[in-house]
């Protein structure tokens, strides 16, 4: 597609202008679908647990090994796939990841015991799905968008929510109608038949491959010139490891670690807590629906606001709002707390992801973004895994979730203030003019054609 260097909209070379829908939004749509299928299929795992228990004669705890392994493997995979994205370009990584994931997902239909499930779901699918995570898709989005980076990230991230709302019921009804093997065969087959070609046809790692500049400006350079100068963040360094010597990456990662702790613990212990408060599973399901709906709206609203306001302030506010949701769980009576949590927590549930990814890109640029955000994602997943166990032990020891929820609220308040302390106006490319020839990435971005 680099041959289409005059820009997709037929703009005259040498003039910066916009016409029609910016191609970056089509890239978002394709990545949205990949996210939708990848996350939907992973969430759908839960639908099959009771069927596998009956078919294989195993317990939920045994099947949980596959899920828990997948959680850890998915977290560990993120810095690796992020690094691959920085080196080889996002397009190659997402295409290969979805290809592997699709085939492995179809392969689950052939599994006859828990060991096969652990191998395919716990390792292969979970590692490959790391390649369709914000550590890779977020890098592509950051290369296509700067002015509207927040809302573009938010639209992409909402693909995960929509995937849960569409793919999980789809798998469930295919299970009822045709059996579990057909369900996995169908979702893997659909991803392979439609998702992989969609990514190959639509996604490009850089707008320069389409003769475009970031945010849809048509290049002022000659039509055949490859765009080689790309603004990077004020804290950009040539080697990604040197980024660890600066404060913002630690501030963002520590806060994101807390995000992992609080979301994973609630995700796993929500029903248990509801039952301990004499709340029915049906009510918990309704509260869950409310939370999901508010979450989808909340993440898009935050994305829109983040392109207008300082992102670190919104990020801090999101953590504090979630802290209020946690406090409501041990202060209010259970039947009221569950709805308070659904409404207040829903507003903050996924909103941290686009904010953290956008801020990382704003501060450090896009050159090493995959690696840096991959590490933040790993911290998020591993923090979550540890919290799930600690919350479980605490409930076993004290018979109540009050203490773990109080600790969760305290960590969220700390994460909020850590986020507020980020000096965005000094470190973000949105506020700091990066000098020409100074902290700019003059290396040609990885091209899909190279």
């Amino acid at each position: 597609m680099s041959g289409d260097s005059s820009g997709l909209d037929g703009a005259e070379p040498g003039r910066s202008q916009k016409k029609g829908i910016y191609y970056g939004w089509y890239v978002i749509a394709a990545l949205f679908f990949a996210t939708f299928v990848a996350i939907g299929a992973r969430q759908g795992f839960g639908v099959f647990v009771k069927t596998w228990e009956q078919d294989w004669g195993v317990t939920t705890a045994t099947i949980s090994v596959a899920a828990a392994t997948g959680w850890i493997v998915n977290g560990i995979s993120q810095p690796f796939v992020g690094r691959l994205t920085d080196i080889y370009g996002g397009r190659r990584v997402v295409v290969l990841s979805l290809l592997v994931m699709s085939i492995a997902t179809m392969g689950i239909s052939l599994v006859t015991n828990i060991y096969g499930l652990i191998a395919l779901f716990g390792f292969v699918i979970s590692f490959a799905s790391g390649g369709i995570s914000p550590a890779t898709t977020g890098v592509i989005v950051a290369r296509w968008f700067e002015k509207k980076r927040g809302v573009a990230m938010a639209v992409l991230i909402s693909g995960g929510s929509v995937g849960g709302m569409i793919v999980v019921p789809f798998l469930s009804y295919v299970l009822i109608e045709f059996g579990w093997q057909t369900a996995w065969l169908m979702i893997g087959g659909l991803a392979l038949a439609f998702g992989v070609p969609l990514l190959i046809i639509v996604v490009r790692s850089n707008p320069g491959d389409m003769g475009l500049e970031i945010d849809g400006e048509v290049s002022d350079k000659s039509p055949d010139a490859r765009i080689v100068v790309r603004p990077v963040g004020p804290k950009f360094v040539e080697k990604w490891r040197d980024s660890l010597n600066s404060k913002p990456i630690w501030q963002l990662s520590i806060a994101y670690f807390v995000c992992g702790i609080t979301t994973a613990s609630i995700a796993v212990h929500f029903v248990r807590w509801a039952v301990s408060e004499d709340i029915t599973t049906g009510t918990a399901a309704l509260a869950f629906g409310v939370l999901s709906g508010i979450n989808a709206c909340g993440v898009l609203a935050i994305g829109l606001l983040s392109d207008r306001w300082q992102r670190k302030n919104l990020l801090g506010a999101v953590y504090l709002v979630r802290a209020v949701a946690f406090i409501s769980l041990f202060v209010l009576p259970g039947p009221i707390a569950i709805w308070a949590f659904a409404v207040i927590g829903g507003m903050s549930w996924l909103a941290t992801v686009p904010l953290t990814a956008s801020l990382t890109a704003d501060v450090y640029g896009v050159r090493n973004l995959g690696t840096l955000f991959g590490f933040a994602n790993m911290a998020h997943q591993l923090g979550g895994a540890a919290a799930v166990m600690l919350f479980g032990w605490a409930f076993t020891a004290w018979g109540s979730y009050d203490v773990p929820f109080a600790v969760g609220a305290a960590t969220l308040i700390a994460a909020g203030f850590v986020s507020f302390s980020i000096r965005e106006k000094q470190h973000s490319v949105r506020y700091v003019q990066v000098p020409e020839g100074g902290a700019v990435d003059i290396t040609e971005p990885v091209s899909d054609e190279s």
């Binding site: 029609g20 969430q43 839960g46 939920t60 969609l198 399901a285 799930v388």
Partner: protein, 63 residues
Amino acid sequence: MANPLGPLLHHSEPIDPDLWESLAAKIDHVLGLSPGVMVLFLGAFIVLFPLVVMVMVWRKRRG
């Protein structure tokens, strides 16, 4: 140790089987459609979404 299955829709963890059973019952109660119809309806969305995007991109490239 707690069962590590069972999240709300966040990131990519599997959904809680008990929570899903209750949710599915509510969906069935509200919509009242057979599983076969639901498969067609949801499957159509999964198939049509990428097709529509590919057609739009194809038209855009043709100008």
